[in-house]
């Protein structure tokens, strides 16, 4: 039998333990116990995912674990989302992300998406092999202020710069903060192409995105 005091910790544990079924069931239990859905997400599921992020940084967890933990968190969120009061479903900061044109490797981008959503962003995911203009058009269209570009391949890094140039050419560079990441990308590269930030991995991307929001 769960109590209000323990169910949140158990939800976090279910995420850390990669237990999708338990996370969903505990989310239901939390509602039955009168825990509000917002608290369940933030102090239960997301707290668990933050622990997962630490384990990943410490090389206790790797990509397979991270994906299964994310599945557990999503299962819990799916249960709680309909119970969120309308006022809690406030407008979130939007970020448009995607893998740059020419590259079809999207696992890194997907991990960034998980950590951004964990941190409260509304992520508009353009997928992989995305043309530079598409990033610009979408960011304008959905009224996002952040753009995140990912690539695994050195062959496609040059396309990231095109996004910056397009924003400049259209005279809208100041309206956006652009973050880049991926295996071959570095802080030096970000500086060189005029990006606003570089992030090493998903957890860094989430922290960096929050910092970028504060610069507006």
């Amino acid at each position: 039998m769960h109590k209000k005091e323990t169910v949140l910790a158990d939800m976090a544990r279910a995420v850390v333990d990669m237990d999708e079924t338990a996370a969903a069931k505990l989310a239901e239990t939390s509602i039955e116990l009168g825990v509000d859905a917002y608290t369940g997400i933030n102090d239960g599921l997301v707290k668990g995912m933050n622990i997962v992020g630490e384990k990943y940084d410490n090389e206790e967890y790797f990509i397979p674990e991270l994906l299964l933990c994310s599945d557990a968190m999503t299962a819990g969120i799916d249960v709680l989302r309909p119970h969120l009061p309308v006022k809690e479903q406030k407008v979130k900061e939007k970020i448009v992300i995607g893998v740059i044109q020419g590259d079809t490797h999207d696992i890194g981008k997907n991990l960034v998406k998980i950590m951004l959503e964990t941190s409260g962003f509304e992520v508009v995911d353009l997928g992989r092999d995305v043309a530079p203009q598409k990033f610009v058009d979408t960011a304008v269209e959905v009224n996002a202020r952040l753009i995140g570009l990912s690539t695994l391949m050195t062959t496609t890094m040059g396309k990231m710069e095109e996004v910056i140039r397009l924003l400049e050419d259209q005279g809208i560079r100041d309206r956006f903060r652009v973050m880049v990441g991926g295996e071959p990308v570095s802080k030096g590269f970000a500086d060189r192409i005029g990006a606003d930030a570089y992030a090493l991995n998903g957890t860094e991307a989430a922290k960096t995105a929050l910092e970028l929001v504060a610069t507006f």
Binding site: M18, I63, P64, E65, D71, G102, D129, M153, T154, P184
Partner: protein, 337 residues
């Protein structure tokens, strides 16, 4: 010393006069393509253009051995049924579809693989290269490793999840990939390759744990070594410090590592196991974005750390300036003065 002899002797662990300098990954560089007149996409599909660009590594970049079998790591995946993107001069082709993402039933490596995909083109490329270089230069072939093939067939996220949820499925996929790599390496040997490079980026420690590597990848690479007679070189991306001993224990002739790995430590571990080390000048930080001096310094550091074959740490980005790449040979020559 004959360049081919130097490479083969070094690979066999014998003393040579100088550390060979070259590339064991990929060198489809735009500036070189323009200089030699063999540009992608033709340099991906035409045996003459493939050979011209392969030779350009020796003629224009100072490399002391040359590459056959193209500039990307999709040759095996294509034969298994993956659709590929169209290459351009600045971009290699990559896998666009994962044909077994819903079910692994029907994963099949055909016996007549050498009649499919780009294998007939590569066979002709070997003939052209052998005519050109005879016994003066060593030639290597290359394909993607078993786990990388698996990620291409079912999707990387899918295979990553299955490592924890359905490991037998992963073993089945890797077994298919292992047989493919064995056949691919034996094909290269029949065609006249002097060694064969396996690129296994999906198995890097940025993705899976050392324990997973030991359980799934190490036996697959060991099986490849066991079932081939050509020297095998294993390239794994990212910081491989924690899996260097396991990479060496597969029985490969050599390992190839990135700049993120500790070269000095890798050399100590590898030499104790009679394995040689290729590497590890940074491809993005130095060769692509750095200055010639930074490239020279990284190359010199690798030599000081005892590298056996001075090479880029990964595939050279197409936009890298030739001047940067040439610093590898310059640093090697200066090191021996």
């Amino acid at each position: 010393m004959n360049l081919k002899r130097r490479v083969l002797d070094k690979l066999a662990g014998k003393e040579v006069d100088k550390t060979p300098v070259g590339c064991t990954t990929s060198y489809g560089v735009i500036e070189v393509m323009k200089k030699c007149g063999a540009e992608r996409p033709l340099a991906d599909t035409d045996p003459e253009a493939l050979s011209t660009l392969a030779m350009a590594g020796y003629e224009h970049l100072g490399f002391e051995w040359i590459k056959a079998m193209g500039w990307d790591i999709t040759v095996v995946s294509e034969v298994f049924g993956c659709a590929l993107s169209d290459p351009t001069i600045s971009m290699t082709c990559s896998v666009k579809s994962h044909p077994f993402c819903d079910s692994i039933d029907g994963i099949h490596w055909p016996k007549d693989f050498d009649k499919r995909g780009r294998f007939p083109v590569y066979q002709r490329q070997f003939e052209i290269l052998k005519e050109k270089v005879g016994d003066s230069l060593a030639i290597y072939g290359q394909c993607e490793g078993p786990l990388t093939v698996g990620g291409n067939l079912v999707g990387i996220e899918s295979i990553m999840r299955s490592i924890l949820t359905d490991v037998e499925k992963v073993r089945t996929i890797i077994a298919a990939g292992t047989q493919a790599v064995i056949d691919c390496a034996n094909f290269a040997e029949r065609c006249g390759a002097d060694y064969f490079n396996i690129c296994e980026p999906t198995s890097g420690p940025a993705l899976i744990s050392p324990k997973m590597w030991e359980a799934l990848v190490q036996p697959a690479i060991a099986a490849i070594v066991e079932n081939t007679d050509i020297p095998i070189v294993l390239h794994v991306c990212s910081n491989t410090d924690k899996i260097i001993p396991m990479m060496c224990d597969t029985g490969v002739a050599a390992i190839s590592i990135e700049e993120a790995a500790n070269m000095k430590q890798a050399v100590e571990i590898a030499h104790a196991r009679d394995v040689r080390v290729f590497g590890n000048v940074s491809t993005s930080r130095a060769l692509f974005m750095g200055t010639p001096q930074e490239c020279y310094d990284e190359a010199t550091n690798a030599l000081k750390d005892g590298v056996d074959f001075l090479t880029p740490g990964c595939g050279i980005p197409p936009g890298s300036p030739m001047e940067n790449i040439l610093q590898l040979k310059r640093a090697r020559d200066d090191y021996y003065q």
